[in-house]
C-alpha cells in the first residue's frame, strides 16, 4: 500500500492532479447504482448552501479544478452518495494531555491512503483524506481533532457523506462544543459516531443518523454501534462490542502511559487482520491537538506529521494479508 502525504496551501495543481488520478475509480463507485439515483447538481449545491454555506466558495473552486463537469461536481458535493461501510475504533486517552487514537478498518482497495495538508480558506487542516476533500480523521490549526467510526446501521437517508461533514467541522469550528452543534445540525446519509477533541481536552461523541436526531454524548470510546447493536451480522463480523468493551477496560482499569495506550491499538483485539473480509486495520492514527501533531502507525513503524512543519513524503506499507 503506497501512502502519500501531500501539502498544498490553496486549491491548485496538486489537488487537481490528485483528482485526475482518483476520479476514474470514484466515478465508477459513484455511478454504481446508476446516475439517476444520485441527486442533481442543482439539488446537491442547494443542500450545500443550506447546510454548509461557509464552504460553498471552496466547493466551487474545487469543481473548477476538477474540470467543471456535472458528475464531478455532484460527486464532490458528497450529497447522498452510494452507501459505504467501515469498521474502526477510536478513543480518548485518559491522561492529562488531549490525545485521540483511532484505527481505521476498511478495505485497502477502496481507500485513498493519502494525508492531505491544506490551508484552504485560511484554515490549516491536516488529516486522512477520503473522496479528495473529505476526511475520515483530521486536526485543524485551532487544535480541534476529529475522527469517525461507522455507526453499524443500514439505514440510508438524505444527507451528506460523513467525510465532508468532518471537513466542514475542521474548516469552521475551533472547539468541541462548536463542533457538537454542527454535528447535531448537519444531515448525514448514514449512521456514524464522530468524536471531537479540542486543545482544552473537551470532547464529545456525536452519534449521527439519517433517521433520528444526532445524540451528543460524552462517550470517550466509539466502535461500530450506537446505543444498541442494531445490525447483528455486521456487529459480530467486526467484533464491535468486544472492541468497545476492551477500550472501556483500558480507560477505567489502567493508568496507561500514552505510548502503552496507543500500543493497544496495534494489537488484537483492536487491530484486525480480517482483510479477506474487508475490515482489516489499514492504519492507526494518533492526534495530539494541543501540539498540532498527528502520527500514522503500523505495527513496528511510526510516521509523525506536524502541522507547523509539514513534510511531504510517502511510505510503502506492507501489511501481511492486505495485498
Amino acid at each position: 500500500m503506497l501512502w502519500r502525504a501531500i501539502s498544498e496551501d490553496m486549491p491548485g495543481p496538486k489537488w487537481s492532479g490528485l483528482f485526475a488520478q482518483y476520479w476514474p475509480d470514484y466515478k465508477r463507485w459513484w455511478l454504481k447504482e446508476g446516475e439517476s439515483t444520485r441527486p442533481t447538481y442543482a439539488e446537491s449545491r442547494r443542500a450545500l448552501k443550506q447546510h454548509m454555506p461557509e464552504i460553498v466558495p471552496l466547493y466551487e473552486e474545487l469543481c473548477e479544478l476538477a474540470g467543471g463537469g456535472d458528475l464531478a461536481a455532484r460527486f464532490l458535493s458528497f450529497y447522498c452518495p452510494p452507501p459505504y461501510l467501515a469498521g474502526c475504533s477510536q478513543a480518548i486517552w485518559p491522561g492529562k494531555q488531549p490525545v485521540m487514537v483511532r484505527n481505521y478498518d476498511y478495505n485497502p482497495n477502496a481507500f485513498d491512503s493519502l494525508v492531505l495538508h491544506t490551508k484552504w480558506q485560511g484554515r490549516q487542516v491536516m488529516g486522512t483524506s477520503d473522496g479528495l476533500w473529505g476526511l475520515v480523521d483530521g486536526v485543524n490549526g485551532a487544535g480541534l481533532a476529529i475522527s469517525l467510526t461507522f455507526g453499524g446501521r443500514r439505514v440510508v437517508g438524505d444527507g451528506f457523506g460523513v467525510p465532508l461533514i468532518l471537513r466542514y467541522v475542521l474548516q469552521t469550528c475551533t472547539t468541541a462544543e462548536e463542533a457538537g452543534e454542527v454535528l447535531a445540525r448537519v444531515p448525514t446519509h448514514m449512521s456514524y459516531n464522530v468524536t471531537v477533541l479540542d486543545k482544552k481536552r473537551q470532547y464529545l461523541t456525536a452519534m449521527m443518523a439519517p433517521d433520528r436526531p444526532a445524540l451528543i454524548t460524552h462517550a470517550a470510546v466509539a466502535t461500530n454501534h450506537q446505543e444498541n447493536v442494531e445490525w447483528v451480522s455486521h456487529a459480530r463480523f467486526t467484533a464491535t462490542v468486544e472492541r468497545e468493551r476492551y477500550l472501556l477496560q483500558r480507560l477505567t482499569l489502567h493508568r496507561d502511559p500514552e505510548e502503552k495506550f496507543i500500543g493497544a491499538f496495534l494489537r488484537p483485539p483492536l487491530y484486525s487482520t480480517a482483510f479477506h473480509a474487508g475490515f482489516g486495520t489499514l492504519y492507526t492514527a494518533v492526534y495530539r491537538p494541543r501540539k498540532l501533531e498527528m502520527e500514522l502507525r503500523w505495527p513496528g513503524t511510526v510516521w509523525p506529521l506536524s502541522m507547523k512543519a509539514f513534510e511531504e513524503g510517502s511510505r510503502q506499507i506492507l501489511i501481511p494479508g492486505a495485498a
Partner: protein
C-alpha cells in the same frame, strides 16, 4: 382393585390440604410439583441445586458448564447471534432459539420462568411462549434497582445509607463544589444509577481518577456521590412474602482481590460462616433487612432480594450499600447453607410466593431459627476471573467437578460432580467451569467459580494462604494460544514532487 392403585395421598392432597401449614408441607408441595419451572440464564450457577427441591425444575443455559453431564441443564446448540451486551440479551436470545422453544413445548404444562435479569422484551417473549414470569415486573425491578430509588426506600424503611448526595456532575471542579456543599469531603465513591459489581462504582480522589471515569459520569444524569468510609462489605439475602420477610444469614463479601478480579471494588465472592461478624452486627443486619423487605412489599415488590451492607470497621455501624431486587451471585451461598438443607432453601419461598398456593407460615419463628449460629456451616465461593492485561484464546480449561489440593499445592481434578456439597474436606473444592476451550481469555473474563468448605479470608478480611493456593492452582491449569498479529514494513524510500 388393589389398594395401591387408589392413590389415596393425591386425593387427600387436593381435598384437605388447601393451605400449606408448615415447612414439611411446603417441601412436599414442591417435590410433587407438576408445572415445569425454568431458570433461564447464562449459566445455572445462581440457582445451583434447586432442581433437587422442585420437581420439573430445569435450567436453560447459554454456557454448558458441565459438558452435557448435568441431567437438568439444557443448552441449545449455538447459532449465530449478536455479541451479547447484557444478561438480558442472552435470555432473549435463548427464548427465541428453536431448540429452546421445542424443549419447552415438548415438556408441556404451564411453564414458569425465573431469571437473573430480564427486561420488557423478555416478558414479551415469555408471554409468547405461554409462560409466567415469576418475578415482579421488569419495570418495577428496574425502578427499585436504581441506586437513587434504593436510598429513598431505605430512608422510608429506616435503613440509612452512607452519607451521600445525589447530583448531576458536569466537571471535576463541579463535583468538588457539590461535595463541599454537602460536607462529605473529597475522598469519594461515585455510583451511577444502575450497574453492578465494580463496573459503575468509581473511587475518586483526584482529577486523574476523575478523567478515567468522566465518560461514565458526565451526561449520565443524577449520580450517587458517597463519602468514602473505611468499611467491610457484606451481603444478605431475603424474600418478601405475604406472610412477612424471610431473612437469610449475613455473608461476607470478597471485594476487589487482585488475584480474582481486575475491577477495583468489584465483587468476587462470598463466605458464609456464623462468626464472620459480631452477634450485634448480625442481629442489626437482620433487623434492617426485615424492615427493608417490609417496605419493599409496600412499594409493590415481592420475592427474592439482596442487600449490601457496609460495616464501618471502627464503629460497627451499618450502612445500606445497594439493593439487588433479584437473585444474585451470592444466592448459591444462601441456598446451600445448613439451614437451607434443614428447612428449605430461601428461593423456595420465592417460588411459593409466586405459585399462588395458599400458605401459612410463622416467619418470625423461621427467622429466629435461621438466626441461630448452629444453623450455619462455613463455606466460601470465589469467582475467578482472568486478571492479566492480555488477550488470547483458551486451549484448555479445568472442567467442572471436585478438585483436590495435593501436599505440594498442586490442584488436580479428582472426580465429576455437580453437587457442591460433595466437597468432603478443606482439601477439596467444587469448581464450576465457565471458560471453555476456544473462548477468548481477556482481562475480566470469567474462568470459573470455586467453592470450598471453610474460609477463604483471614480475620482481617484478606485472602488467606489456602485461598491463594487454590486460585493459583486453578489458573495454572488454563492454557491459551496467542491471537494472530501483523507486522508491517514501511519504506520511506522516496519523496514525491
Amino acid at each position: 382393585m388393589p389398594k395401591w392403585q387408589n392413590k389415596p395421598t393425591e386425593r387427600t392432597d387436593h381435598m384437605t390440604t388447601t393451605v400449606l401449614k408448615n415447612i414439611s408441607e411446603i417441601r412436599r408441595y414442591f417435590h410433587r410439583n407438576e408445572d415445569p419451572v425454568y431458570f433461564i440464564s447464562a449459566t445455572n450457577f445462581n440457582l445451583l441445586g434447586l432442581d433437587e427441591w422442585v420437581k420439573n425444575f430445569k435450567y436453560i443455559c447459554y454456557i454448558d458448564c458441565y459438558g452435557g453431564k448435568h441431567p437438568n441443564v439444557f443448552c441449545p446448540s449455538e447459532q449465530p447471534h449478536a455479541e451479547f451486551q447484557s444478561i438480558e440479551d442472552i435470555n432473549n436470545y435463548l427464548l427465541q432459539h428453536k431448540e429452546v422453544i421445542d424443549f419447552i413445548k415438548r415438556r408441556g404444562g404451564k411453564p414458569k420462568f425465573v431469571f437473573l435479569m430480564f427486561d420488557a422484551e423478555t416478558e414479551r417473549l415469555s408471554k409468547e411462549l405461554g409462560a409466567d414470569v415469576w418475578f415482579p415486573k421488569a419495570k418495577l425491578r428496574t425502578k427499585m434497582d436504581n441506586k437513587i430509588e434504593t436510598v429513598r426506600i431505605g430512608n422510608k424503611a429506616g435503613v440509612p445509607s452512607v452519607p451521600n448526595v445525589l447530583a448531576e456532575v458536569k466537571s471535576y471542579d463541579d463535583l468538588k463544589k457539590t461535595c463541599e456543599k454537602a460536607g462529605i469531603g473529597h475522598d469519594l465513591v461515585l455510583q451511577s444509577a444502575f450497574g453492578d459489581s465494580g463496573h459503575t462504582t468509581f473511587f475518586i480522589k483526584s482529577e486523574a481518577d476523575f478523567r478515567r471515569h468522566e465518560h461514565e459520569i458526565i451526561g449520565e444524569g443524577e449520580i450517587k456521590i458517597m463519602k468514602r468510609i473505611d468499611c467491610r462489605g457484606s451481603a444478605i439475602e431475603a424474600c418478601a412474602t405475604k406472610e412477612g420477610t424471610i431473612v437469610g444469614p449475613l455473608m461476607t463479601e470478597l471485594v476487589g482481590f487482585k488475584e480474582l478480579t481486575p475491577y477495583r471494588g468489584g465483587w468476587c465472592g462470598n463466605e458464609i460462616l456464623s462468626t464472620a461478624f459480631p452477634p450485634k452486627v448480625r442481629q442489626k443486619a437482620r433487623e434492617l433487612t426485615f424492615k427493608f423487605g417490609e417496605q419493599l412489599r409496600k412499594e409493590g415488590y415481592r420475592g427474592y432480594f439482596e442487600l449490601d451492607f457496609l460495616i464501618d470497621k471502627k464503629t460497627g455501624d451499618l450502612w445500606l450499600g445497594e439493593l439487588n431486587p433479584r437473585i444474585t451471585g451470592a444466592s448459591s451461598m444462601t441456598n446451600h447453607a445448613a439451614f437451607a438443607h434443614a428447612d428449605a432453601p430461601l428461593f423456595l419461598f420465592h417460588l411459593l410466593e409466586f405459585s399462588k398456593k395458599k400458605f401459612a407460615l410463622d416467619t418470625t419463628e423461621l427467622n429466629d431459627r435461621w438466626a441461630d449460629p448452629s444453623m450455619i456451616d462455613s463455606w466460601s465461593q470465589m469467582v475467578i476471573k482472568h486478571t492479566d492485561d492480555s488477550v488470547d484464546i483458551c486451549t484448555e480449561a479445568p472442567e467442572t467437578g471436585i478438585y483436590k489440593m495435593l501436599e505440594d499445592g498442586r490442584v488436580v481434578y479428582d472426580r465429576f460432580d455437580y453437587h457442591r456439597r460433595a466437597v468432603e474436606s478443606e482439601n477439596e473444592a467444587f469448581f464450576l467451569r465457565i471458560l471453555q476451550p476456544g473462548d477468548y481469555r481477556y482481562e475480566g473474563a470469567d474462568i470459573g467459580i470455586l467453592v470450598t468448605r471453610g474460609r477463604s479470608m483471614t480475620k482481617s478480611f484478606q485472602l488467606n494462604e489456602r485461598a491463594k493456593k487454590w486460585i493459583h492452582g486453578i489458573k495454572q491449569t488454563v492454557t491459551a494460544k496467542p491471537l494472530p498479529t501483523a507486522t508491517a514494513f514501511a519504506d520511506p524510500a522516496f519523496k514525491i514532487l
